[in-house]
């Protein structure tokens, strides 16, 4: 059905509107439902604040806290909490949970403490090492003193031996002086002396060898000790040097970093200054350039003005020449225009003549067209009249004449026709005076359907409403 066809343009619009409605609804639902998602805050805090014993502990809690902190910081160190603190620690845990935020700064402080402790430990170790070194130094000094004592003893021994020997020699010498006197005795004495000398030399050599051996032994012993001590010292020194070097390195690094920073800052300052100077230079240059440009422009303008003046003079000369030419041309033009006007006048006259002829021809044409139209109208009128006559004739044929109708009866009907020649309605406009005749004509109109109409549909407008007159005399 046609209604379905005419509902189609609405379908797209309706679909779009439906989608819009749903989109709006979902947006509403999404933003309406999502605001509930956020959880209530502060719930955890409320629960822990309500615990009992929170007010009792603050003074007692602190020592275990330190342990806890040490636990937290140094889990490796074994902590021996006092057994009596079990209750305290039991109380302490929830409180610690209740105050999680407070422990964090303490931890930071403890970290700082740890650093200090480490420094102190380093110092202690260094002091101990120094002590050890000093002790060893003292031991070494003692050993050296012993060594010297031993040498002194040896020297004493040697001195005693020498003294004994001298004494023996002195005892033996006096007879020696007597020798030249007593040759036999002197020989014997010489022999004895030689023997004594030999003995003395042997003894001295033995003593020397023994003393040398002892000295060498002691020396070797001492040397070993000293070497060992030196090694230890060297190692300690090396360690100390390593540490010192490490510290120096760290210090050097820090210094280097500080220096780098300082240098970086200096560089930055230098760069800033340099940039500032550059900017200043640039500005100065720019100003200088601007000035130079201004001057150049001024010069250029001067030159251009000079050129323009020259050009203007040239132009003035050229214009004068042109004016002269134009005057000549204008005169020539005037002559030419006069000629043209004369020609135009001639042409205008000719045109007027032609137009007049045309107007006459058009008037003739119009007249002919009007005649043709009139002829057409007349033809239409004729056709309409003809068909009207045909209609009337057809109706009249259907009138059943009755005997008592007056001769001069005259009835008028308004007849409305339909395109097929059917009669829509027929109204009696002027009754004839004889009701029998009127009804007879009306019946005849109905009987005469379909009434004859011209084949040209355009003419139907002339037949839509007809006023038909009927009288029995015709």
């Amino acid at each position: 059905m046609s209604t379905i066809v005419y509902a189609k343009p609405y379908k797209l619009r309706a679909g779009a509107l439906a989608l819009v409605v749903h989109g709006a609804f979902f947006v509403l639902l999404y933003f309406g439902a999502s605001w509930k998602v956020q959880p209530p805050q502060g719930m955890v805090v409320d629960i822990w604040d309500s615990l009992p014993g929170g007010e009792v502990a603050p003074v007692k809690v602190e020592p275990p806290k330190l342990i806890e902190q040490s636990k937290l910081d140094k889990p490796m160190q074994p902590v021996a909490p006092p057994k009596a603190d079990i209750e305290l620690s039991a109380k302490k845990r929830p409180q610690e949970k209740s105050k999680p935020t407070r422990t964090e700064p303490k931890r930071r402080i403890e970290k700082v403490d740890v650093a200090e402790q480490k420094k102190q430990e380093r110092l202690r170790v260094q002091a101990e090492q120094k002590m050890l070194v000093e002790q060893k130094m003292i031991e070494v000094q003692k050993a050296r003193a012993e060594h010297e004592r031993a040498r002194a003893e040896q020297a004493n021994i040697v001195a005693k031996l020498r003294r004994n020997l001298k004494a023996e020699l002195e005892k033996a010498e006096p007879p020696k002086v007597v020798e030249p006197v007593k040759s036999a005795a002197s020989l014997k004495a010489d022999f004895e002396l030689a023997e004594k000398k030999r003995l003395q030399e042997k003894f001295q050599e033995a003593v020397k060898i023994e003393s040398k051996r002892q000295i060498e032994k002691v020396d070797a012993h001492l040397k070993l000790k000293i070497q060992a001590e030196q090694k230890i010292e060297a190692e300690q020194k090396a360690e100390a040097e390593h540490k010192a070097q490490a510290e120096q390195k760290t210090l050097a690094k820090q210094r280097a970093q500080a220096e780098r920073k300082a240098e970086a800052e200096r560089k930055a300052e230098m760069e800033q200054r340099a940039e500032a100077e550059r900017k200043a230079e640039m500005e100065q240059r720019a100003e200088a350039e601007r000035k130079a440009e201004m001057e150049q422009r001024a010069e250029v303008e001067r030159k251009t003005q000079a050129k323009l003046k020259i050009l203007a003079e040239k132009k003035a000369q050229a214009e004068e020449k042109e004016r002269a030419k134009q005057k000549i041309q204008a005169e020539q033009k005037l002559l030419a225009e006069q000629k043209e006007q004369a020609e135009q006048k001639a042409q205008a006259e000719q045109k007027a003549k032609v137009e007049q002829e045309r107007a006459r021809a058009e008037q003739k044409m119009q007249a002919e067209q009007e005649r043709a139209r009139a002829a057409q109208a007349a033809a239409v009128g004729r056709e309409v009249a003809e068909y009207k006559a045909k209609i009337i004739a057809k109706i009249r044929r259907n009138i059943v004449m009755l005997p008592d109708i007056p001769y001069n009866a005259r009835a008028e009907f308004d007849v409305t026709l339909l395109p097929g020649g059917m009669v829509l309605n027929s109204i009696l406009v002027k009754p004839s005076g004889s009701a029998a005749y009127d009804s007879a004509v009306e019946r005849a109109i109905k009987k005469a359907e379909p009434l004859p109409l011209p084949p040209d549909a355009a003419l139907f407008s002339n037949f839509r409403e007809l006023r038909l007159k009927f009288s029995p005399k015709e």
């Binding site: 059905m1 046609s2 209604t3 379905i4 066809v5 005419y6 509902a7 609405y10 379908k11 619009r13 309706a14 679909g15 509107l17 439906a18 989608l19 409605v21 749903h22 609804f25 979902f26 639902l29 999404y30 439902a33 999502s34 509930k36 998602v37 959880p39 209530p40 719930m43 409305t416 339909l418 395109p419 097929g420 059917m422 009669v423 829509l424 309605n425 027929s426 009306e442 109905k446 359907e449 379909p450 839509r464």
Partner: protein
């Protein structure tokens, strides 16, 4: 279950079981269609009322039925339901009038039958989709309820697997399930409102057409 669980609308739909999701999809489709029909009906009924008013005005202000007939046959679609009823009746009247042996009553009966046929056709077109709106209005709450019941059943079945039953275990499932009911109601309420509104409008239009048919057949009967 965490307190901070996301209970937003999209999350609820995503977490729902497959059957509940199917129900929700069906309800969304039905809702879209019902809104589509609501808007189509809105435009068509409004247009039909406007066209019948215009035609009645031109009918009572114009004495010449023939000219009116020509106008309506030229206008064709734009004349509206009432114009089409008039055209059908008048053509039938002219056709029957051409046959000379027809009784006047028989002609009028034929004309009236033709007009009634056209009237029925027009009413059929006007009332189309109204049945769909009525069905959506009455059934979609039940469909949504079915989805809700199924979702709650699932929620409680999941609860049986947990030793300690808390509200947090059941609440999300029930919330998911209740989305289905919400969607069913969202589809149903506008459909019911639109059905009542348009059925009332169309009943008024129908009574108007019948009155016109009676008056027009009177006018035709007055014709000789």
């Amino acid at each position: 279950m965490d307190v901070t669980q996301d209970l937003s609308f999209i999350h609820l739909i995503q977490n729902a079981s497959v059957l509940v999701q199917l129900v929700m999809g069906l309800l969304l489709l039905v809702s879209l269609m019902s809104w589509w029909f609501i808007f189509i009906k809105m435009f068509t009924v409004r247009q039909a009322v406007k066209q019948s008013e215009e035609f009645e005005e031109s009918f009572w202000n114009n004495d010449d039925l023939n000219r009116l007939y020509q106008n309506t046959s030229v206008m064709r679609g734009d004349s509206g339901s009432m114009g089409r009823i008039f055209a059908a009746g008048f053509t039938e009247f002219l056709k029957l009038k051409k046959k000379h042996d027809m009784d006047n009553n028989a002609v009028m009966d034929g004309t009236r039958r033709a007009m009634r046929a056209t009237y029925q056709r027009e009413m059929d077109v006007l009332e189309s989709h109204l049945a769909f709106l009525a069905t959506v209005g009455s059934v979609s709450p039940y469909v949504g309820l079915f989805g809700t019941v199924w979702g709650i059943m699932n929620a409680f079945r999941g609860l049986s697997n947990v030793g300690q039953a808390t509200l947090a275990h059941v609440a999300p499932g029930i919330a998911e399930a209740l989305v289905a009911t919400a969607m069913g109601l969202f589809a149903a309420i506008p459909a019911v409102v639109a059905y009542n509104r348009y059925s009332h409008d169309i009943t008024r239009l129908a009574s108007r057409f019948e009155i016109f048919m009676e008056e027009f057949s009177n006018v035709l009967q007055r014709q000789p």
